[in-house]
């Protein structure tokens, strides 16, 4: 996506300037520099992730272009919802003991497994669609970004 990495990188430059002023002014307060630095790292990670997904486009200014490829979209995911609940139950178990920890962990693991299956099914549906659309073409086409979960 054109320009996608510009916003986080520009913003992180502003943060770096403020962090440097902080370090100079506070004579290198470690915890403040560490939290500030960590925060900048997180923003950079967003920028780098976008750059990795669209290396030719992410740092170029201008309009996003037309994406003609179809997309596979999930419409519901019980596994994703239950994974969230599983993490909640697992955390709750740290206060109320073993059962909730094991129950939450089991739900979480099962749901993460299920999410992998869902993702594979989505990819398979996408490739099947491509084969149906272009019967002569080998299905070497990469799934669009919509299938990356």
């Amino acid at each position: 996506m054109r320009g996608g990495a510009i916003a986080p990188f520009v913003w992180s430059v502003l943060l770096i300037i403020l962090m440097v002023i902080n370090i100079i002014w506070t004579a290198g307060n470690e915890i403040q520099a560490a939290t500030f630095g960590f925060s900048i790292l997180m923003v950079w990670l967003v920028g780098l992730a976008v750059l990795r997904l669209a290396p030719q486009e992410a740092l170029r200014r201008g309009e996003p272009e037309l994406r003609a490829q179809p997309e596979a979209m999930p419409s519901a995911s019980a596994a994703a919802a239950m994974a969230g609940v599983g993490l909640g139950a697992f955390s709750f178990g740290w206060v109320f003991g073993g059962f909730w920890i094991y129950f939450g962990a089991a739900v979480l693991v099962i749901c993460l497994g299920r999410l992998i299956l869902e993702h594979r099914a989505q990819r398979a549906a996408y490739l099947a669609y491509l084969r149906e659309r272009d019967p002569g073409q080998k299905s070497a086409e990469r799934p669009s970004e919509g299938t990356r979960m």
Binding site: I6, W11, I31, P64, G88, A125
Partner: protein, 549 residues
């Protein structure tokens, strides 16, 4: 020029009907609605806590609740409002609206977003479950200062549940924030360059960048606090107390702006649509938002002026610098209204209310940004007044501006204007009666977080005004809920674009279809593509009539 297109979908959506289907839907609109509805329920819960506290403070030495219960109430009121209402509601608005505004058929990482919602909700319920334990809920304040929050000074599972609940709630919001960030950066429609994104989307972008940068620190800090409560020596002595405050406020101040920017976006969109003008000074606004967000990541130490653990000059400098981007936003608001043919619909009234009420919070912020003045107000009601004017008088007014503006898009029905105006008037009166006298109480020396105060006629009168004001606020919320019920049961159909909106969400049907747009998008040449289209049509009509364009 962009190509008019609708991003295509591979298959029609698998309809999963019913209640369960709504809870596991990966449609961003459904997730946004679920998050918004649950946040609103938590808002009512947090409001009830506030009403009980105000009842306790109606008279000196009152005994509506015990001191211990009062400690739980103010902790859970603050925590509920911040972790479970204002912040997640801002993300709910972003989750629902951003893909529509940028012309995307969906949100990025939809399963991740859905999981984030459930992690957040689990956290909220775990936090509230403390009420059902024998020790009661968390009672160390929403900021859980060490060493007050350690296992010796605040024992009991209720506080443990608070720590875990707050950590999970913030983790869930972080997941949603990631998804919104990636959506904005990756899924804009053809033609929608960064400097053509709508004003609300920009406010959402800077908010979610702050979420991504600051929220992991709190998740980490809550894990450390939990270990500290279990006996691991982490936040010990003076250094430990300062370290906790550094970690907490590194999240705690940016979150104030996450609770502000999207509502600023709501107010700006409502005002621009009501004024029938483009938002004035768009590029200056965008630059000021970026600067505002960066500065707001560097001001957290102003919460620690009196500790002696931070360099006050740096944080006073960065905090005072916030005046500049804030001033640009006010200038843009005035510029938008200047010479416009504004119609004072309810959304517009709430938008203006946002700017005017927030001004009081902002100006008192100059006071508390000065270490010298802050020494005198720290821990008293001036601080309470200041942040309630920013978060309630500011954010909540912006939230209602957004609700009245986008309710027709979400439901297909209009909210009643008459009831809306009653809601607005009551909220203005109630807000200022509740929070205005707090400045005077603080000046008189009343400290925060006390359940009883000595008999003092002046304090008693001010507290009674505040309690009556809180009742009026509650009444205004009741009027709003009645308005919602009436408007949904006896629908006045809104149509697709009842306000002649400027942004892409008004291009689609109300409510939007599963993939957001059933017809090709218009060309996107500016941050107000539908305004461009309206102007083209007006020009063509003028040309047809022979008048110069």
């Amino acid at each position: 020029m962009s190509t008019a297109t609708t991003p295509s979908a591979l298959t029609p959506p698998l309809r999963t009907p019913g209640f369960v289907g709504a809870l596991i839907s990966t449609d961003h609109k459904r997730i946004g609605l679920n998050l918004g509805i649950m946040s609103l329920i938590f808002f009512l819960v947090g409001g009830i806590f506030a009403l009980i506290m105000r009842s306790q403070l109606y008279e000196p030495n009152n005994s509506v609740v015990s001191d211990n219960t009062y400690n739980q109430l103010f902790t859970m009121h603050g925590s509920t409002m911040i972790y479970l209402f204002v912040t997640p509601m801002a993300l709910a608005l972003a989750t629902y609206l951003v893909p529509l505004q940028i012309g995307s058929p969906r949100i990025s990482l939809p399963r991740f977003t859905l999981a984030g919602f459930w992690v957040w909700l689990s956290g909220g319920l775990i936090m509230q479950s403390g009420w059902f334990t024998s020790d009661g809920a968390g009672r160390a304040g929403w900021s859980a200062y060490a060493p007050l929050s350690n296992g010796q000074r605040t024992p009991g599972v209720g506080m443990d549940l608070w720590v875990i609940g707050a950590g999970l709630a913030v983790l869930g919001m972080l997941m949603i924030g990631w998804a919104v960030t990636v959506t904005i950066l990756r899924r804009r429609a053809p033609g929608m360059a960064l400097l053509r994104m709508p004003v609300f989307t920009w406010t959402a972008l800077v908010s979610v960048l702050m979420v991504v940068g600051a929220f992991p620190v709190l998740v980490f800090a809550m894990a450390l606090l939990y270990a500290n409560r279990m006996g691991v020596a982490i936040f010990q002595g003076f250094t430990g107390a300062i370290d906790w405050q550094d970690l907490f406020w590194f999240f705690g101040h940016p979150v104030v702006y996450v609770m502000f920017f999207p509502y600023l976006g709501c107010a700006a969109e409502a005002i621009a649509a009501g004024a029938h003008k483009r938002w004035f000074g768009y590029k200056a606004f965008v630059a000021s938002m970026m600067a505002f967000a960066a500065l707001s990541m560097s001001v957290w130490g102003h919460h620690m002026f009196i500790t002696g653990g931070v360099v006050n000059e740096y944080f006073a400098f960065s905090s005072t610098m916030l005046i500049i981007p804030a001033g640009i936003e006010y200038f843009d608001c005035i510029g938008t209204l200047w010479g416009s043919s504004a119609r004072f619909r309810v959304a517009m009234l709430f938008g203006l209310g946002f700017f005017i009420q927030f001004l009081i919070g902002g100006l008192s912020g100059i006071w508390v940004a000065s270490p010298t003045l802050d020494y005198n107000s720290y821990g008293d009601y001036i601080v309470i007044a200041h942040f309630h004017y920013t978060l309630f008088a500011g954010s909540v007014f912006g939230f209602f501006a957004g609700v009245y503006h986008w309710f027709p898009k979400v439901t297909g029905a209009r909210l009643r204007e008459g009831l809306g105006k009653v809601h607005f008037v009551l909220l203005v009166i109630g807000t200022n009666m509740t929070f205005g006298p707090m400045f005077a109480l603080g000046e008189e020396g009343m400290t925060r977080r006390i359940s009883r105060y000595p008999t003092n006629p002046e304090w008693t009168t001010l507290n009674q005004i505040e309690t009556i004001g809180a009742g009026i606020v509650a009444l205004s919320i009741l009027v709003f809920l009645v308005n919602v019920v009436v408007s949904l049961r006896r629908r006045v159909l809104a149509g697709d674009d009842p306000w002649q909106g400027h942004t892409l969400e008004w291009w689609t049907s109300s409510p939007p279809p599963p993939h957001n747009f059933d017809r090709p998008l218009p060309p996107i040449r500016s941050y107000a593509p539908l305004k461009d289209l309206q102007e083209q049509i007006e020009d063509a009509e003028r040309e047809k009539q022979g008048a110069p364009a």
